[in-house]
């Protein structure tokens, strides 16, 4: 499985170039390599700390009702997703995801 390269921009504005396999959960990837304070709820859609703004090129696939409601409760801008609900796929190669500061 070929690796997918992507860029994560942390809350301080620093860019981190990462590579990961297809199927990798984006929240776990960011928590391990970029910012250990995100992902408080472990992907239960109940903390909102994994909110990311996705750059052009990948929308992350379908949004569940629970995620949609959480995005609205968080007042998230268009193009934002909960990283814990995203699995990387080959079409995500080259994208930039920005961790949204709270």
């Amino acid at each position: 499985m070929s690796d997918i390269s992507l860029t994560i921009i942390d809350k301080a504005g620093t860019a981190h170039a990462l590579t990961a396999g297809s199927g990798q959960n984006l929240m776990h990837l960011m928590r391990e390599h970029v910012d250990m304070t995100i992902g408080t709820c472990g992907g239960e859609i109940s903390c909102g700390t994994c909110l990311v703004q996705l750059g052009d090129g990948w929308a992350g696939g379908s949004v569940s009702v629970d995620e949609q409601d959480m995005l609205e409760a968080l007042d998230a801008a268009p193009g934002c997703r909960l990283a814990c609900q995203l699995s990387l796929e080959p079409t995500a190669a080259g994208i930039t995801a920005t961790i949204v500061a709270d």
Binding site: S46, C47, G48, D66, D69, M70, E72
Partner: protein, 331 residues
């Protein structure tokens, strides 16, 4: 001489092999849970917590807070209609949804919907019922209420409770066991009448000879059960006595029996005496049954003869209450 008795084989009463049936089961008398109270109950081999909100309604949930596992029956508080966990003050409504978390910006929508399994609860004729289903299947029928009183209102005359060492299925099987009425209870003649099984309902109407202070008297016994937990029996002759019996599994070999006995109001002294004798006789009968129940074993393939009564038909219907998978079964 060396002889080993296979003790475990002879003393295995078989109850750990029968599951617990789904249904409505009485778990308390209404006045045991006043407004603002919360209590932990231990039935069905598990625990649950019931509270009464300030609107007077009862709510029941699983015992452990899904946040970090505190027991919701310990040091928790009823706040309005909700229950507040003692550990971090998350507050739950009766559907198991979170209504408040004091230290976060908003309650996450997913948790607001429900994150704590709730138990359907009902209150009928002064008893608190919960719906038990091992897979949390939804209720399939309603709690049965007392029949209308032919004149005025029923008067609750007596209450009794027994904790019996037997599986719940065996207690209501007793009513179908015709032969034991003579041997255990000394009731003259086997009852004859109609026996109907229909869906979740079991009905038994018999013409029977009942003991009264004036000697044996002919009367009608109308026995109506809905589900495994509730039986209402009317004894009708010169008077009319109603017995509301609930049987609630504590676990597979222990059952809590509750009785409420009702009579009609404004009875003459003579009818009152017949009533009291009837109630005394009923209590005497169950007290005769209990030692046998406490020690008997479940026989899956009993040796039955003519005159034994519709025990197997009873069991066949009862098996429906163990059909945990097909939730879509006919109502």
């Amino acid at each position: 001489m060396d002889k080993t008795f296979p003790e475990s084989a002879t003393l295995d009463r078989g109850y750990d092999k029968i599951p617990l049936p789904f249904g409505w089961f009485a778990v308390a008398a209404s006045e045991e849970i006043t407004v603002g109270d919360r209590k932990t109950f231990r039935y069905f081999g598990t625990e649950f917590v019931i509270w009464r909100g300030e609107d007077g309604q009862l709510r029941a949930v699983d015992p452990f807070c899904p946040h970090l596992g505190a027991h919701l029956g310990v040091a928790s508080e009823v706040v309005g209609n909700d229950l507040r966990c003692a550990f971090h003050h998350w507050t739950y409504n009766g559907e198991g949804g979170v209504t408040e978390i004091p230290y976060t910006r908003f309650v996450p929508p997913k948790l607001k919907r429900s994150c704590l399994p709730a138990w359907p609860a009902a209150e009928v004729d002064g008893l608190v019922y919960v719906w038990y289903h091992p897979n949390k299947g939804a209720p399939k029928w309603e709690v049965m209420a007392l029949p209308p009183c032919p004149e005025g209102e029923w008067v609750e005359e007596e209450r009794h409770e027994w904790s019996v060492n037997i599986h719940v299925q065996e207690i209501t099987e007793n009513g179908q066991d015709h032969a034991h009425f003579a041997s255990v209870h000394g009731v003259p003649g086997a009852p004859s009448g109609e026996f109907r099984l229909d869906g979740w309902v079991r009905r038994n109407i018999v013409e029977a000879t009942m003991n009264t202070p004036r000697g044996p008297m002919h009367g009608k016994i109308d026995n109506f059960a809905t589900g495994p937990g509730q039986t209402i029996t009317q004894f009708i002759d010169v008077t009319h006595v109603v017995l509301l019996q609930t049987v609630t599994p504590i676990d597979r070999e222990n059952t809590h029996i509750r009785w409420k006995l009702y009579r009609q109001s404004n009875l003459s002294d003579g009818k009152m005496r017949v009533n009291q004798a009837r109630m005394r006789d009923l209590v005497k009968q169950i007290v005769q049954d209990i030692p046998i129940w406490n020690a008997k074993r479940y026989v899956p393939n009993p040796l039955l003869v003519e005159g034994d009564g519709p025990l197997l038909a009873y069991r066949q219907q009862y098996a429906r209450f163990y059909d945990f998978e097909s939730d879509a079964a006919a109502e």
